[in-house]
């Protein structure tokens, strides 16, 4: 119990700073004092097991939550959740939320002048399987304007929330689409210094999971923090 195998810290530049002034909302919300470095304790290397209560097997298909089919281009988003050591993260909760095909969220604060879709809620969840795989059926979300700066538009994206095995492995991110012309102008995408790390947020077009006559596939793998070294590895 005294010998905690810590989770690895991010490589420099691969994670965003809290303050990124081009993303205007960060200015009044990012901490101004330095974070206090904390070695991991039992609290950080344990975490909730979110799979046990109420995972709805139908929730992974966002196109079948209403009586009719949603408008838009049906897509399959799939991938695997790994840790930094390349090990699959099995049975972990993956939650997604997104705008509809017109770029509108089903949220009272979304004032974008685009139609809601009575057949699309825009949220879903699933558990990874024993090999860390997940698969979501949805529609391609629309781009939409926002108030960050003059003529600001968010590229199409799907929000992802993943737990992993520990408090230290928690991750919330966004998946983008290849070839989206808005990506280079997006301050939320651009807030990470490392270009390769940023670009890993862009999904890959996926022939393998494209369903003929039905839906295009996109692949998005998610990497969670991995252990520094497990006690077993230390023995070697």
């Amino acid at each position: 119990m005294t010998n905690i195998a810590s989770y690895r810290r991010p490589y420099p530049g691969t994670q965003p700073d809290h303050l990124h002034p081009p993303y205007v909302s960060s200015i009044k919300r990012a901490p101004t004092k330095p974070l206090v470095y904390m070695p991991h304790t039992l609290t950080e290397v344990t975490g909730p097991s979110m799979g046990k209560e109420g995972v709805d097997v139908k929730a992974s298909d966002l196109t079948r939550q209403h009586s009719g089919e949603p408008l838009g281009e049906r897509i399959i988003v799939s991938g695997r959740v790994f840790d930094e050591n390349g090990r699959a993260v099995p049975r972990t909760l993956v939650e997604v939320w997104q705008a509809n095909a017109a770029g509108r969220y089903l949220h009272r604060n979304d004032q974008h002048n685009a139609p809601l879709d009575p057949n699309f809620t825009g949220c879903g969840h699933t558990l990874t399987d024993n090999e860390g795989r997940y698969r979501i059926v949805t529609i391609r979300p629309g781009e939409y304007p926002w108030g960050n700066h003059h003529n600001a538009w968010r590229p199409a994206h799907i929000h992802f929330s993943v737990f992993g095995p520990a408090f230290a492995s928690r991750l919330v991110t966004q998946m983008y689409f290849p070839g989206d012309p808005l990506i280079p102008y997006d301050p939320i995408f651009n807030c990470t210094a490392d270009e390769k790390a940023r670009n890993r947020l862009i999904s890959l077009f996926d022939w393998e999971n494209t369903i003929p006559g039905n839906a295009l596939g996109y692949r998005f793998d998610i990497i969670l923090a991995g252990r520094e070294a497990t006690p077993i590895e230390k023995l070697k």
Binding site: M1, T2, I4, Y7, R9, P10, T14, Q15, P16, H20, Y23, S25, S26, K28, R29, A30, P31, L35, V36, Y37, M38, T41, L42, T43, T46, G47, P48, S49, M50, E53, G54, F82, E84, G86, E95, V96, W97, H107, N109, T121, G122, C123, H125, H159, S161, F167, A168, S169, R170, V172, T173, Q174, C191, R198, R200, L201, I223, L224, A225, G226
Partner: protein, 191 residues
């Protein structure tokens, strides 16, 4: 050869459509042992304005000081129905509140017990990464020797300790102050 963790991105302003399914603001309940407490407060931005679109996630041990997780190998009882997890959004006035039981002590580095605490992640529009902090309990003798509290300069430790409220013994106040003189201590635990 190792991979690099996926870059974090903000939850944005509309996370509630996706994440409120498992909102959970009451960890106490029938059959859960321990001292029941409600922790209430606000999330305030750099202008002192309430943040109406924040979300807290909490993680804590049960009253015996045991986490329901395979890596907690302590010989202490688990309690069925105690998940140790909560997810609490702020309301339009930046207020949040949750009810739980006071956790027991868990081991810290070198086997020394940590003071009872609740781990907290704070998510909101404007934050590309979560903020990580802890809630400690007032009038708790173990706070003075706590490994993590002692990482913090003494003048700022108070931001991590919930305060008693007048007249209501079971309600504690604890706030998330994002900026300024009273800024809450946030920890670097990696992501």
């Amino acid at each position: 050869m190792s991979l690099q963790a996926t870059t974090s991105q903000t939850v944005g302003p509309f996370f509630s459509i996706g994440l409120t399914r498992v909102n959970k603001n009451n960890l106490a309940g029938p059959g859960i042992s321990g001292e029941q407490v409600t922790i209430a407060g606000r999330v305030l931005d750099g202008d002192g304005k309430p943040v109406p679109d924040a979300m807290l996630e909490i993680w804590q041990a049960n009253s015996h000081g045991k986490y329901p997780h395979p890596e907690d190998t302590q010989a202490k009882p688990l309690e069925t129905g105690f998940l140790g997890y909560g997810r609490i959004p702020t309301d339009e006035n930046g207020k949040f509140s949750f009810t739980t039981i006071k956790p027991g002590s868990v081991p810290g580095p070198d086997g020394k017990a940590q003071a009872p605490h609740i781990a907290v992640s704070v998510f909101m529009r404007g934050l590309e990464r979560r903020l990580v902090t802890r809630i400690y309990f007032p009038e708790e003798g173990a706070n003075a020797g706590d490994f993590v509290l002692n990482l913090v300069e003494p003048a700022r430790r108070g931001t991590l300790v919930a305060k008693k409220t007048a007249g209501q013994a079971s309600i504690l106040e604890w706030n998330v102050i994002l900026q300024g003189d009273e800024e809450t201590v946030f920890f670097d635990i990696g992501l």
